[in-house]
């Protein structure tokens, strides 16, 4: 089984605070891998390091066989690693369709075309339409993003990521702020993604984690506590301590 | 040769000190409110004209007119902050730039209307005229005075920021506005007082600078670049950064004009661009 994404000794310090300490993980191709842990464990920082949003203090990131540690964020996206954001990071003034068309144009290298109207990019528009349909956003195609209800904005978050045709998709709390009934639907969409796409997702809802994840990594205080199958994690004493310990204090 | 070099350095430091006194208010308000205020020079100009008015109309001696300049500019700053600036804290930097340019134009027009377009003369007290003989060299008395004032101001500011509760509130608000408000700090009041203090210092600098920089209605535009430069290169929201930047700027400007008058002003801009490339967030490294 090939490794789609791998880190070696990835670390990030902010002054004296070590947000990520020596994290070495590998994600198999086609994985459905959950990254869990208490708040402040460094999960989002890890994703920021993987994608290049934050420069690492030390360590390496490999996408497939390629070392991407020094590449800027957009270059890593072009190589196939895309992420979604925990807090909606969309284009408030663009419609849903315009947003996804933009992403499709960028992916197909048409983002620099200045001599034809965007309306003439039929391939991108069709592809965008198809992605929106898949996420059941087709009726909202011409609605301006800031007027979309929160749940649909979360779906648009994912639509934008899908438009880049990722090989590795990193989802940072995709269902954040969505009631459990709707989030199951959202995850059904994610589960319906092609098998070859490697999916790593941060999630707090344990129901969802245990339903969709095939492998789970637990992070605490910037390091990896344990990794294993859902059964192994459910039975792990240390994991229970970490979560129950939280509950006892919180 | 060496005497010349020392003289140039001394002049440069004095000039830089003056720029610092005027610009420090801009640094703090930019770091605190993230507001690009191109009109900061207008408060300096206001202080300068307040000095002139106090000396000519009220017969106040020069040294006594300086506190008046401080107070007038501080009050003006406080009033404008409460009525106008406050509304634009959340606005885009472009809006802030446009707004402050508008204020600059209005202030230039007002100054021309009330005082005329000519340079304002200033009568320095005899104490501060002439040379002082130190260490075998002659130093301009006024420039020595400037450096002295700046040292005093820097010490006072540092004490204020680091030793008083108000200073702690400023530092907290610069660091994280939301958290500070959450801790019960009256951020509005911090802004208002800080803006007033910064404007007051600018006014003081304007009064001090009548002799060195000159005073005419185009002052805010003429020196706008320099004040912004000090803050951009020094780093907004700090005291030490702009101090170093101001001194460096002052020395290079004076040295440039002395040693290579053809390209004198040019040098400043080149130095600025180079420094901004090397330190995009300023010498002190703070996010502008």
């Amino acid at each position: 089984m090939s490794v789609a994404l791998r880190t070696i000794g990835l670390s990030k310090s902010f002054g004296a605070f070590r947000a990520n300490a020596d994290v070495s993980l590998s994600f198999a191709a086609g994985a459905r891998h959950a990254l869990i842990g208490p708040n402040g464990a460094g999960k989002t920082t890890f994703i920021n390091l993987l994608t290049g949003v934050l420069p690492a203090s030390s360590g390496e990131v490999y996408l497939g066989d390629e070392k991407v540690s020094t590449l800027p964020q957009h270059a890593r996206v072009k190589l196939g690693m895309t992420r979604t954001f925990q807090i909606n990071t969309l284009f408030p003034g663009l419609t849903a369709l315009e947003s996804v068309v933009l992403a499709c144009c960028e992916r197909s290298g048409r983002g620099g075309v200045w001599w034809r109207p965007a309306l003439a990019e039929r391939a991108a528009i069709d592809e965008a339409g198809e992605i929106l349909s898949r996420l059941k956003l087709d009726r909202d195609a011409h609605t301006v993003t800031r007027e979309l209800p929160y749940g649909k904005q979360r779906l648009l978050e994912i639509a934008l990521a899908l438009a880049t045709r990722p090989k590795v998709l990193l989802l940072d709390e995709p269902a954040a702020g969505i009631p459990s009934a709707e989030s199951a639907e959202l995850f059904a969409v994610i589960a319906g993604l092609p098998r070859q796409v490697t999916i790593v997702f941060i999630e707090h809802d344990m129901d969802i984690v245990f339903r969709f994840a095939e492998r789970i990594t637990v992070m605490v205080g910037g390091t990896v506590l344990v990794e294993g199958t859902p059964d192994e994690i459910a039975r792990d004493r240390r994991v229970r301590e970490v979560y129950l310990g939280e509950a006892a204090h919180g | 040769m060496l005497g010349n070099l020392i003289g140039v350095l001394f002049d440069g430091i004095a000039y830089g000190s003056l720029l610092f006194v005027i610009s420090i208010g801009l640094s703090v308000t930019m770091g605190l409110m993230n507001f690009v205020n191109l009109a900061h020079g207008a408060f300096a100009m206001l202080g300068g004209y307040a000095c002139v008015m106090a000396m000519t109309r009220l017969g106040v001696p020069f040294l006594a007119s300086l506190p008046i300049a401080f107070v007038v500019s501080a009050v003006a700053g406080s009033v404008l902050e409460g009525t106008l600036y406050r509304r634009l804290y959340k606005a885009t930097h472009l809006d802030q730039v446009l707004f402050s340019i508008g204020l600059v134009f209005m202030s230039i027009a007002a100054a021309t209307y009330f005082f005329g377009p000519q340079q304002q003369p200033v009568k320095l007290p005899s104490l501060l005229r002439g040379q002082v003989h130190l260490l075998g060299l002659d130093f301009g008395a006024y420039r020595l005075f400037l450096i002295g004032v700046v040292v005093a101001v820097t010490l006072a500011l540092t004490w204020l920021i680091e030793r008083t509760r108000f200073g702690a509130e400023i530092r907290a608000s610069v660091d994280n506005q939301q958290a500070s408000a959450g801790l019960g700090i009256n951020v509005d009041r911090v802004f208002s007082l800080t803006f007033a203090l910064g404007s007051g210092l600018a006014g003081l600098g304007g009064g001090l600078g009548i002799d060195v920089l000159g005073l005419d209605p185009t002052f805010p535009l003429k020196f706008m670049v320099y004040f912004l430069l000090v803050v951009a290169v020094g780093g907004a929201g700090t005291i030490k950064g702009p101090l170093f930047a101001a001194v460096i700027l002052g020395v290079f400007d004076v040295a440039g004009k002395y040693y290579a008058p053809q390209v004198g002003s040019f040098i400043i801009y080149v130095v600025m661009v180079v420094m901004l490339l090397l330190f995009p967030n300023g010498l002190a490294g703070r996010r502008a």
Binding site: A124, I125 | V225, A288
Partner: protein, 320 residues
């Protein structure tokens, strides 16, 4: 804003472009002023691309205007009076300058950008001042002799050739800008404006796009400067002056940024008002100008076109 737009010119747009054509026939005595307005409108258009679409705060855009003006002027002064080739060369110089300085401008935050653009403008002003043997310094560059346009039309005192020349150039460049803005590239500019953080996450290099648009904006400003030199047969040092950059920003903001037409409308309104009012009393003009700016920022941020768009939206909502 409206969904992905089309090629066609709306009726309002056609009506708009008929105005300067009508002015040519209706106001034959004011063609010089008219040319000035057209040139400045082109200059404002270039700033709209940079400021309205890419949100780069530039206080030194006059740098490229001046470069275009001096290039065209010097070419003509030293023997090469053919207008179109002079125009092209001036554009090339300004575009190159824009490209070279763009790397400085896309780094850093707003304040650094502001300083760099301001600094470059001031540097060029100083250079023009110092190199007075070439540029004429404060007195300006005179002796600019233009040849005939297409070998047929000479730039006479009536200003007719100049006016048509400027209008045609403005329209051609406008078509280019309009195409650009409606293209996928234009869409990506809107993407940067609306969600700069998301752009790299969809694989787009923000700095590369900003470099491109800044360079284009510089080139167009150069065209405007060259037109000024060629039609007035003179280049003043104020081509590089800060107040030229500042006034331009005011004109653009008055009309409304990000509409392409905002710069054109704002320029026309501003310059017509200015020609009436500032001759009365320049101090008052400056005061009211400053006040106008403050008022626009506080109450009418979208300028004239923004206010019209808001009005239209309110009427639409009222009808529903």
């Amino acid at each position: 804003m409206s969904p992905l737009a089309t090629w066609k010119f709306s009726r309002l747009e056609i009506a708009f472009w008929l105005l300067p054509i009508a002015a040519f026939f209706l106001f034959p005595k004011y063609l010089t002023l008219g040319s000035q307005i057209l040139i400045t409108a082109l200059f404002a258009l270039s700033l709209d691309l940079i400021l309205g679409y890419a949100r780069i705060i530039s206080l030194g855009h006059a740098a490229f205007f001046g470069l275009g003006a001096y290039t065209a002027g010097l070419l003509a002064k030293y023997g090469w009076g053919e207008p179109l080739s002079g125009l092209l060369l001036a554009t090339a110089v300004a575009t190159l300058a824009g490209l070279l300085t763009s790397f400085l401008v896309v780094r850093g935050q707003d304040l650094a950008r502001l300083m760099v653009t301001l600094g470059i403008g001031l540097m060029l002003y100083e250079t023009a001042n110092q190199a007075s043997s070439i540029t004429g310094g404060v007195d300006g560059l005179s002796g600019v002799e233009m040849g005939k346009l297409f070998g047929v039309f000479s730039f006479g005192l009536d200003g007719r050739t100049a006016y048509v020349y400027c209008l045609v150039v403005l329209f051609v460049v406008f078509l280019f800008a309009r195409t650009l803005v409606r293209s996928p590239f234009g869409l990506s500019l809107r993407g940067i404006r609306e969600g700069e953080k998301r752009m790299p996450a969809i694989g787009a290099s923000v700095s590369r796009k900003l470099v491109a648009v800044y360079t284009v904006g510089a080139g167009i400003a150069g065209i405007a400067g060259a037109l000024l030199a060629q039609t007035t047969q003179f280049v003043g040092i104020d081509s590089f002056a800060f107040h030229r950059s500042a006034d331009l920003m005011i004109m653009l903001v008055l009309g409304g940024t990000g509409y392409l037409y905002g710069g054109l409308i704002g320029t026309a309104v501003f310059m017509l008002l200015q020609s009436y009012l500032s001759s009365l009393n320049p101090v008052y003009w400056q005061f009211w100008l400053g006040l106008l700016l403050v008022v626009i920022v506080l109450f009418a941020r979208g300028g004239i076109l923004g206010a019209l768009a808001a009005l239209r939206a309110r009427i639409k909502r009222g009808r529903r």
